[in-house]
């Protein structure tokens, strides 16, 4: 569904953000990136990241020990 998926499982701060930024940079405006993480801190962090950079958080959900985010590149 997403244009690209980033597996950030097992990575700790700030690596999920750094990897996500790297992926978004190579995507076109309007494309979506799914991120799967295990770091609970990634919930507030990806929200802060989106608010600050102007990218859009389409979905943020918890699935057992996994945190899944769907971000649309808009910035």
């Amino acid at each position: 569904m997403a244009d690209q998926t980033l597996d950030a499982k097992g990575l700790n701060c700030p690596l999920p953000i750094l990897r996500a930024k790297k992926a978004l940079k190579d995507m076109a405006t309007g494309q979506t990136l799914e991120i799967i993480a295990t770091d609970p801190g990634s919930i507030p962090d990806f929200e802060a990241f989106c608010r600050t950079t102007g990218n859009q958080m389409l979905e943020s959900k918890q699935d057992g020990n996994l945190y899944k985010f769907l971000i649309k590149r808009t910035a």
Binding site: N12, P14, I17, L18, K21, K25, D39, T53, G54
Partner: protein, 171 residues
């Protein structure tokens, strides 16, 4: 809205941050590199000024050790609890090295980036890194032993950037 691709040149409308990096131990190298790389990922122009004991963090070959600084009795997780070694123990040759190995193992096990990895990310995301010329002279460091892409400068160079920055940290 931040510009996705600009560097640390400062000609943009992006927010900016300066960090003075003065400490060169394994533990204290983390805060500046974590903040710099995250800020850069969020579209902030970042300048890091490496001075005094922070300067060796620019050496190609890093050999970082932990210190008891700010960590009373050097508490570390061991055998399911937080054990403290009296700091004097850390003074015995070999114990610092053992604590450093323990920290490096924890770092790997917990999915925490290495300093080398974060430094590389900083370079890739155009974080501007300035080596303090005075510290280079004082402690006899040579630019050829340091990573590429860094610039030389002094206090006036730092001040010009800091006066324009939104966040200024001294670490």
């Amino acid at each position: 809205m931040a510009n996705e691709s600009q560097g640390g040149a400062g000609a943009s409308n992006a927010k900016s941050m300066s960090i003075i990096v003065t400490k060169g131990s394994l533990d204290w190298a983390y805060p500046p590199f974590i903040l710099a790389t995250t800020a850069a990922a969020m579209g902030v122009d970042v300048t890091m000024f490496f001075t005094f004991y922070g300067l060796p963090l620019l050496l190609k070959k890093l050999d970082l050790q932990v210190t008891p600084l700010g960590n009373p009795a050097m508490k570390m997780p061991m055998m399911g609890m937080h054990m403290g070694m009296p700091n004097i123990v850390g003074m015995i040759p070999g114990v610092d090295a053992a604590a450093s190995r323990m920290m490096k193992n924890l770092i790997k096990k917990k999915g925490v980036a290495s300093i080398e990895e974060l430094r590389e990310a900083a370079v890739e995301s155009d974080v501007k890194m300035i080596a303090c010329q005075m510290t280079m002279d004082l402690f006899e460091y040579d630019l050829k032993d340091m990573i590429g892409g860094i610039q030389l400068g002094g206090a006036a160079t730092y001040m010009e950037g800091a006066l324009k920055a939104d966040i200024n940290l001294y670490i």
